[in-house]
């Protein structure tokens, strides 16, 4: 029984993680994804020093122009350098993407795991709270938050995190409910392990697969949601930008100035593919059962 095998390993310490790392290193696609992500993060970090122009630097005389030697990725309708804007946009998008997703992940996984594991009335109560959150009119909610708390980027994380954890919680809960009746969990029970140990050692590692998959789905979602919220006036304000906003504006002029859509689109897609490869690699590496194959 592979489960027992893993169980056995687990009790010996953190070898699950070391094991996973070894497996991840063998997955070249995942490594490639990791490399791309690191590069993107590095570029974002260094942007203020390496960007060719200022992100707000306008040249209305040039206006929108295609890629050229001066402006490798062209300029937008204000004559601002697109390469610079994409680099600065990446800072915003990556920060929002990672932090808001982390918030959603933390709340969602804990909430779902507790609800699914404890079950009964607690589960019912917790899931009804999720239902309520789902049902509230998101936009009014955002507008109010904006008025009450003022406009800042922290609020953006909060708003996005507050929305994205709901689905995560549902997915984790259904997974946990399925898991807790499995033999190895019941075995752990009969061995007298504490509830918390069981959740930590057995439940959470076994739900990691779907959670990682859903996380890689959430990050792009978060980046686009950020664009929508910024468009509504919450979050970042011009002349700052983000990939989502750049794409948003690019769509409107995609017939006239296609480069305004294509380059930010490529930047976002590249990130997502990299994330996807890393996510899949992690999922496979952390999956206790693949060790046998």
């Amino acid at each position: 029984m592979p489960q027992d095998n893993r169980h056995h390993k687990d009790t010996q310490g953190t070898s699950l993680w070391r094991d996973a790392w070894v497996k991840l290193c063998k997955n070249y696609l995942a490594l490639f994804g990791l490399a791309v992500l690191s590069l993107l993060c590095l570029v974002s970090l260094l942007t203020p020093w390496i960007a060719p122009y200022g992100y707000e630097e306008q040249n209305l005389l040039i206006g929108a122009s295609g890629p050229s030697l001066q402006h490798w990725l062209g300029t937008d309708i204000f004559g601002r350098d697109m390469l610079t804007r994409i680099m600065y946009g990446g800072r915003v998008s990556l920060t929002v993407g990672f932090i808001a997703t982390a918030v959603a992940l933390l709340i969602g996984v804990l909430w779902g795991a507790v609800a699914g594991y404890v079950g009964g009335r607690t589960d019912a109560l917790m899931m009804r709270i999720v239902d309520i959150m789902y049902a509230l009119p998101f936009m009014i909610f955002i507008v109010l938050l904006m008025v009450v708390l003022g406009r800042n980027i922290l609020l953006l994380f909060l708003a996005i995190g507050a929305v994205e954890w709901l689905t995560m919680a549902r997915i984790v809960r259904s997974q946990v409910m399925a898991l807790r009746k499995q033999e190895f969990v019941e075995a752990a029970h009969s061995l007298g392990l504490s509830q918390w140990t069981i959740i930590r050692r057995h439940i959470i590692p076994n739900t990691l697969g779907p959670v990682i998959v859903y996380t890689t789905l959430t990050i792009p979602n978060v980046m686009l949601l950020e664009a929508f919220l910024s468009f509504l006036g919450l979050g970042i304000q011009p002349p700052q930008s983000s990939w989502g906003l750049l794409i948003n504006y690019g769509v409107e002029t995609m017939e006239e100035y296609p480069w305004l859509l294509i380059f930010p689109g490529i930047a976002l897609s590249l990130t997502l593919f990299a994330l996807n490869f890393v996510g899949d690699g992690l999922r496979d590496a952390l999956d206790p059962r693949t060790s046998k194959d």
């Binding site: 592979p2 239902d131 509230l136 709901l166 998959v213 897609s269 996807n276 496979d284 194959d293």
Partner: protein
């Protein structure tokens, strides 16, 4: 199972009550009233309008009278569309939205499950990467980009399909359904791949393989049931999301659906309309979540005992 469903329906009542109360407070505290306009509105007019819609009463009184109306199934008059009732507006928008959501769901399920299953059968090969990359593109291609692209290609350049409308011209339902469905197809593909991988490594599948059953038979008879649990858990929220989140697609394709009403209502501070639509959507979300939970239980025999036995 029946007891489980009844139990959940009973739980829905306090949930709805909280949703109504919270929304009521939210909309009434949002800045900008329903009657503010670009041109200055004379105070006499504001007074007359507020009197007509009972907005001059204390808030708790408005709340009580609103609740008693809702209990009787009356969502009140719309503030913005003078003379229209909220019930009437919801009834006018629902058919298009429901139809769109249904078609989009079909598109999503057919494409998503087949791509996900195909990928899971041979992980880390071309057969995995191709559909999964397509799914990734589907996710990062938001409908506000995918819709216009489809319109440009199929509507304007090839002139195969109408660029807008719903039921006005033959074929005008195709592009919106695909646009809305693709994003969800991508999610379903990823989730079903994950779920299938999980199941395919289980013992009973190995046993089945050892017994020499053919792979398609294993997939269809044994693996799908368990492998689709994550998908099923996602279906409830997804369907609710399709119903409520079709705003972008409805706008791009000029579809007379609920999504447009909802967003317009929020922008217009059409209090009764926001509340009515929220209650309506909340009810749908609760129902769909219940359905998807019931499906998950049905798919997972271990949970079946539990649902019967608890409470």
């Amino acid at each position: 199972m029946l007891r489980f469903a009844l139990n959940r329906l009973l739980q829905a009542i306090p949930v709805l009550l909280i949703v109504i109360s919270a929304t009521f407070l939210l909309v009434h505290s949002a800045p900008g009233g329903p009657f503010s306009a670009d041109k200055a509105v004379p105070p006499e007019v504001i007074k007359a309008l507020e009197a007509q819609y009972n907005l001059d009463q204390p808030l708790w009184q408005q709340y009580v009278s609103y609740l008693s109306d809702v209990v009787r199934g009356d969502f009140g008059p719309s503030f913005k569309y003078s003379g229209r009732s909220v019930n009437e507006l919801i009834a006018a928008g629902l058919p298009a939205t429901a139809e769109l959501a249904l078609y989009a769901m079909l598109v999503a399920l057919i494409i998503g499950i087949s791509a996900g299953v195909a990928a899971a059968m041979r992980p880390n090969t071309l057969q995995d990467y191709l559909p999964m990359s397509a799914a990734m593109i589907g996710i990062c291609m938001p409908s506000f980009l995918f819709g216009p692209l489809m319109v440009l290609v199929f509507g304007i350049h090839l002139e195969w399909l109408p660029v807008s409308g719903w039921g006005d011209m033959p074929g005008d339902k195709i592009l919106p359904s695909i646009t809305l469905g693709t994003g969800y197809a991508a999610y379903i593909a990823r989730l079903s791949r994950g779920g299938m991988l999980e199941v395919l490594s289980q013992d009973y599948i190995r046993t089945a393989r050892a017994k020499g059953l053919s792979e398609p038979l294993i997939i269809i008879k044994h693996a799908l049931r368990g492998g689709l649990i994550p998908v099923v858990a996602f279906l409830g929220p997804a369907f609710a999301g399709l119903l409520g989140g079709s705003f972008v697609v409805e706008t791009i394709f000029q579809i007379p659906g609920l999504g447009r009403f909802y967003v317009q209502a929020a922008f217009n501070r059409d209090y009764t309309m926001i509340l009515g639509m929220t209650i309506f959507f909340a009810t749908l979300i609760i129902l769909f979540n219940l359905l998807s939970d019931m499906l998950a239980i049905w798919l997972n025999p271990k949970l079946r005992h539990q649902a019967g036995g608890r409470d």
